[in-house]
């Protein structure tokens, strides 16, 4: 079972090889994120060193004050006391200043990492093919970009500096103990055995449970997003109770997993304290026995105990960080899986130059199968000269939409080529391709923002005059002007509800302003009422002038403006001629047209 990309990402119980695979890619991601900030990390390291040093000096100065400055003061000489107190103050200010400065410095680094990760993940998901999105589902994509990033944010907030400082501190303390009394140091080393066992247990447990927790929280998000997106249907069909039951189960799953994770840390952390305290007692026992035999001084024993105790001081911080790391790591595993997904519709590395697209389209021996093996287009050949308007008709499942998706390169053909002006679509840079070919579908999605923004999506640098001209051309201008803020009306706010038909008109305006060489309309007029459709028809005649167009419509009224009608069935073209000729004939289209005419009467 491969863990490549997002395959089997809900699997939490990984075997060795899968673990290695997943660990490698999340480490790769981690390192690639760090690469840009190496210098800052080195800077952080030194800052931690300085502030740690300043903090260590403090207790030393206190000892000095008691051992030296105090006797001098009792003798009436306060000079040393002044000096020591002065030095202490300088250290205090210095350590406060460096800590405070470091906080901002570290946060700048953290935020740079987070920003980079967010940006990269967002762009990457945008690049991934529709096939991926349809399979992976929107809720999961959202979960990766919100919840999983949050777990990484938490790791960064916990602060690697604490851990680095802690480790430095432990190393120094260990060395000090070893040079003071090697036997006690050996006892300390021996403590590493239970420490290692406990840590190994912790690591194994958390890895498993944090993975489960990522999966559970993604499920929560998927469910939540689906409910809120479909709230009308939820209410209309009284799904609230059933939803709540399902959601409660998911909440409880997530809660119990989360509680489990926390409990594991709740054992690990006191476990560390326990090991530390037992080690101190052991050092005391063995040191005390040696002291009784006279071969160990009391002073040395005091020192050995103090150092052993101090050695374990930073453990809690390190454990805290390690815990956050485990949590972030399972987030990283998921994120890196998405980033590992290759776009199945990749951009060419050496694109053909497409200066002035004319709009000639060619299908050569095109085959298309879905991933489940179902064949939609068996062997498809078609030439559409530049500037021609094609009407594509046929029953559901004939392959019309597939054809449209191939031309707009939502998918690549399984075999054969689709070419624009002689260039294989796979060889055209994405920007060029999108400039040349635009598709309007039945699903007219409006983004948050003003109506004007939504039209301008077709041409981001469009002037307001251009936007208005586009709206006028497709006949939606009057409607927009009737809204409270006209073109500046927020599509989600201030009573500016936009009906399905109006949404479609706006997306027409969007296509109009994009001014492509090839325009594909896939059932783009389905929701329009008749007056709007008539307006669009008029608009279309100007819109389609000098362009190649493929129009898929069930309403045969659109056919009248086509130069050529293609009738499809089971992935093949069965009729291909001018509309008037087909209507006059006796073929499938003539029948369809008659049925349609009858439906009007």
């Amino acid at each position: 079972m491969s863990m490549q990309g997002v395959n089997n990402e809900d699997n939490v119980d990984l075997n060795k090889q899968q673990s290695r695979e997943v660990r490698r890619r999340s480490l790769r991601l981690l390192f690639s994120l760090i690469r840009g900030i190496r210098l800052r990390l080195v800077g952080s390291f030194f800052m931690v060193l300085v502030s740690q040093a300043l903090r260590v000096v403090g207790p030393g100065l206190i000892t000095f004050a008691i051992d030296r400055a105090l006797p001098a003061a009792i003798k009436g000489d306060m000079k040393l006391a002044w000096l020591t107190a002065g030095a202490y103050l300088i250290c205090a200010i210095g350590s406060a200043a460096t800590t405070s400065f470091f906080l901002v410095y570290a946060q700048r680094t953290n935020q740079a990492v987070l920003f980079q990760l967010r940006d990269r993940l967002f762009r990457h998901t945008q690049m991934l093919s529709l096939e991926f999105h349809e399979k992976y589902t929107s809720g999961r994509v959202i979960s990766r970009q919100t919840n999983d990033i949050d777990s990484i944010k938490e790791l960064l907030d916990t602060g690697g500096n604490e851990m680095v400082a802690g480790i430095i501190y432990m190393i120094f303390t260990g060395i000090a103990l070893a040079s003071l009394d090697f036997q006690s140091f050996l006892i300390l080393l021996f403590a590493f055995v239970p420490l290692a066992i406990l840590t190994r247990w912790f690591q194994k447990q958390t890895k498993f449970w944090y993975r489960k927790s990522r999966v559970a929280s993604a499920k929560l998000i998927v469910h939540f997003v689906e409910t809120m997106t479909g709230i009308r249907a939820v209410k209309a069909f009284r799904k609230e109770k059933r939803n709540q039951d399902d959601y409660n189960v998911l909440v409880e799953d997530y809660r119990s997993i989360n509680a489990k994770v926390i409990q594991i840390f709740g054992i690990y952390d006191p476990g560390l304290t326990m090991i530390g305290n037992i080690t101190v007692a052991a050092v005391l026992l063995f040191g005390g026995m040696r002291a009784m035999h006279g071969d160990f001084s009391i002073g040395l024993l005091t020192g050995a105990i103090l150092y052993t105790k101090r050695f374990f001081d930073p453990m809690e911080n390190i454990a805290q960080f390690y815990n956050a790391y485990q949590s972030a790591n399972s987030g990283l595993e998921k994120v890196s899986g998405v980033l590992e997904e290759d776009p199945t519709v990749p951009e060419p590395t050496h694109p053909d130059v497409l200066a002035e697209p004319k709009g000639a389209l060619d299908f050569d021996n095109v085959e298309f199968h879905y991933s489940n093996g179902k064949t939609i287009l068996p062997d498809f050949n078609l030439h559409i000269p530049a500037g021609q308007t094609i009407a594509l008709v046929g029953t559901t499942g004939a392959g019309k939409s597939t054809l449209a998706k191939l031309v707009s390169r939502f998918y690549d053909p399984s075999a054969g080529t689709v070419a624009l002006d002689g260039h294989d679509l796979r060889k055209i840079a994405n920007d060029d391709l999108r400039r040349a070919i635009v598709m309007v579908t039945q699903e007219a999605y409006l983004f948050a923002g003003t109506i004007s923004d939504n039209i301008a999506l077709g041409k981001p640098d469009a002037s307001s005059d251009e936007i208005m001209a586009a709206a006028k051309a497709v006949g939606v201008h009057e409607f927009i002007m009737s809204l409270p803020d006209g073109y500046q009306t927020d599509v989600n706010k201030r009573g500016g509800r936009v009906s399905a038909g109006q949404r479609q008109l706006i997306s027409f305006a969007r296509a109009f302003i994009a001014d492509p060489a090839v325009l594909i309309l896939d059932e783009a007029t389905a929701s329009l009422d008749i007056p709007s459709e008539r307006l669009v028809q008029h608009g279309l005649q100007t819109l389609l002038k000098g362009r190649t167009a493929i129009i898929i419509a069930h309403r045969l009224s659109t056919v009248s403006i086509a130069d050529r009608v293609l009738v499809m069935e089971h992935g093949r073209i069965i009729e291909d001629d001018a509309p008037a000729k087909l209507i006059a004939g006796t073929g499938k289209f003539a029948k369809m047209h008659k049925a349609w005419r009858d439906s009007l009467a």
Binding site: L89, F115, V222, R255, S256, A259, N277, V438, R494, Q502
Partner: protein
């Protein structure tokens, strides 16, 4: 936004945390005990060592070692106890808040959801709630125990010499001022950061839901640039937060240390003047050192508390929202639904529309007799879909009333109302579950025969060809179904609910001519016995209905048969016939 104090805001969470409260308090006790034990261990150790100095024997050593061991195990046990006491209840509180928020959101009317970007809701139910949990089971517990430790410590410091204690108290004054200023300023920025995180989630959601449009226009990068700008705004806010925390920390670290430095000088002077013993000074330093961590960590806990306050605030913004479309206090009940639907002078304006804007519906009067079907006709945007949404109270009429079998729809529970009236929306929402579940959404206990019949009427035979037939999981993952297929499932769903009133919003728009004709034939049998309101754009759909109602300028201006209206009504002709006439002329 109401601006309660931090404590008042945080206290609002306690009804949800009632059951966890005793354990939280015990947790605080355990945390305090840990700190106290940690405090005694060093003194104990030095005592034993001193003891060994005078009496190096097993009888002195072994009890000492055992005592140290017991204290050490005790300390670890208290840590274990604190975590065990507090952490699980914390997750229960979080889960409870999450369930309440979800329940509230499902209860709130569609108008609420129109206003709120979904990412803002998502960020409330995820990040915000875990923030509250961590504050409750970690921040609150340690902050309280730290404050107590500090207070106790200060008392102990004063007991060594009042001047030394006074130094600590006086120098801490700037911290109070700083902390007060910090509270107001930080809260604002924390709020901004959480809102921006919500905006970011909204952008993420939009980019995913609108992926087809973004791809079709090649605007992925354009949108990503916008996202990057938002992410950058969040980054600057986070940095602003960090700078504020840093300046608070500067005070929190520097001032106690300064106090130690000053008292070092004063202490030495006092000892030299015989006003303080050497032992007293040593003990003073030891105590001051123990206080370092609690004092420094206060900064961390203050910002955590303020983050939690903001999260609580954001939580209650939703919870406090009044459910405008709620169940009546004394609901009526329709025993034998006939399906008589009457609109009486219905007015409507969207709740967030500007004051001066005219009503969208300005007095709709319409009577649909039991078993009758009416086609609703009107130009795009005239309020047809809105009118259908009023029947099941997705929105409430702003004036006038809608009656089902003589009962105002507002006098029925929403549950009952929506049982009587089933809708098929134009944009078919499918949920990620099986075909069966999706179709039987309105009547989960329906038999297989009913299911089959509904699919038959909607001509949705294609479902049998899906990989797992009726058990194929569709919905979110079913985006690869064509628009026509989705629409037929939505229709099947409405039919399968066997309501007394069917409300269909342009139910056949995405179907091809052949399929449409077949669906219409099948649907006629259903409509014979069911009351129906059908929004129609095409004559073919109009033909399904017994009569036609024309919606114009917010009123029903004509009701009659298609042929009558076609002959007599200018506006009706404009709406329904122009293209076809043109086409027919050709």
């Amino acid at each position: 936004m109401n601006n309660r104090g931090t404590v008042a805001t945080l206290l609002r969470i306690f009804p949800y945390a009632k059951r966890a409260l005793p354990r939280v308090i015990l947790g605080i006790v355990a945390a305090l005990s840990t700190q106290l034990l940690a405090l005694t261990v060093p003194t104990f150790l030095s005592g034993i060592v001193n003891n060994l100095k005078t009496n190096p024997s097993v009888s002195a050593l072994i009890p000492g070692v055992i005592a140290v061991l017991v204290l050490g195990i005790g300390e670890a046990t208290f840590v274990l106890l604190r975590r065990w006491l507090v952490l699980t209840p914390g997750t229960h509180v979080e889960a409870g808040l999450r369930r309440s928020l979800y329940a509230k959101l499902q209860d709130l009317e569609v108008g609420f959801h129109d206003k709120w970007p979904s990412g803002q809701l998502l960020s409330r139910v995820t990040g915000d709630l875990s923030l509250i949990r961590r504050w409750l089971s970690f921040g609150l517990v340690l902050m309280v125990s730290n404050v107590i430790t500090i207070v106790v410590g200060l008392v102990i410091l004063c007991s060594y010499h009042w001047i030394l204690g006074a130094i600590f108290i006086v120098t801490s004054i700037p911290i109070w001022f700083k902390g007060f200023k910090f509270e107001t300023e930080y809260h604002r920025v924390a709020r901004q950061s959480q809102d921006q995180a919500g905006d970011l989630a909204t952008s993420v959601e939009e980019a995913v839901h609108g992926i087809r449009v973004l791809k079709a226009f090649g605007r992925g990068n354009f949108f990503a640039d916008k996202f990057a700008r938002d992410a950058n705004a969040l980054r600057s806010t986070e940095l602003k937060k960090a700078r504020m925390i840093a300046s608070l920390w500067l005070y929190l670290i520097m001032i106690p240390e300064t106090a130690v430095g000053v008292s070092m000088l004063v202490g030495i002077y006092l000892v030299s003047q015989n006003q303080l013993t050497i032992g007293g000074l040593v003990a003073f330093f030891a105590t001051a050192r123990v206080l370092t961590w609690p004092t420094e960590s206060i900064g961390f806990f203050i910002s955590m508390t303020l983050d939690a306050k903001t999260a609580v605030e954001r939580f209650f913004e939703v919870i406090d929202t009044n459910v405008d479309i709620a169940d009546p206090e004394h609901p009526k009940h329709i025993e034998n639904p006939q399906g008589r639907l009457v609109f009486k002078d219905v007015h409507f304006k969207y709740p967030d529309a500007p004051e001066d804007q005219a009503d969208l519906l300005k007095g709709v009067d319409l009577e649909i007799q039991p078993g009758e079907s009416i086609a609703l006709i009107g130009i795009t945007g005239c309020g047809k879909t809105t009118l259908t949404a009023l029947t099941t109270r997705l929105y409430d009429a702003t004036a006038g009333s809608i009656e089902l079998d003589g009962v105002d729809v507002r006098d029925l529970t929403r549950e009952e109302l929506r049982q009587h009236i089933a809708m098929a929306f134009e944009d078919a929402t499918l949920f990620s579950s099986s075909v069966r579940d999706n179709v039987l959404l309105g009547r989960p206990d329906a038999s297989d025969a009913d299911l089959k019949q509904a699919l038959e009427i909607a001509q949705a035979h294609f479902v049998y060809d899906l990989p797992d037939g009726l058990d194929t999981k569709i919905g979110e993952e079913g985006l690869s179904l064509s628009g026509g297929q989705r629409q037929r499932l939505a229709l099947a769903r409405a039919v399968a609910a066997r309501p007394s009133v069917l409300v269909l919003d342009d139910p056949l728009s995405a179907l091809d001519v052949d399929t449409e004709a077949m669906v219409e034939d099948a649907l006629r049998t259903v409509l014979k016995s069911t009351t129906a309101l059908i929004v129609a754009h095409r004559p073919s759909t109009v033909m399904l209905a017994d009569r036609v109602a024309l919606l114009e300028d917010g009123r029903i201006t004509a009701v009659g048969k298609h042929s009558e209206l076609l002959a007599t009504n200018e506006h009706y002709r404009h709406v329904i016939s122009s293209i076809e006439e043109e086409a027919n002329k050709r």
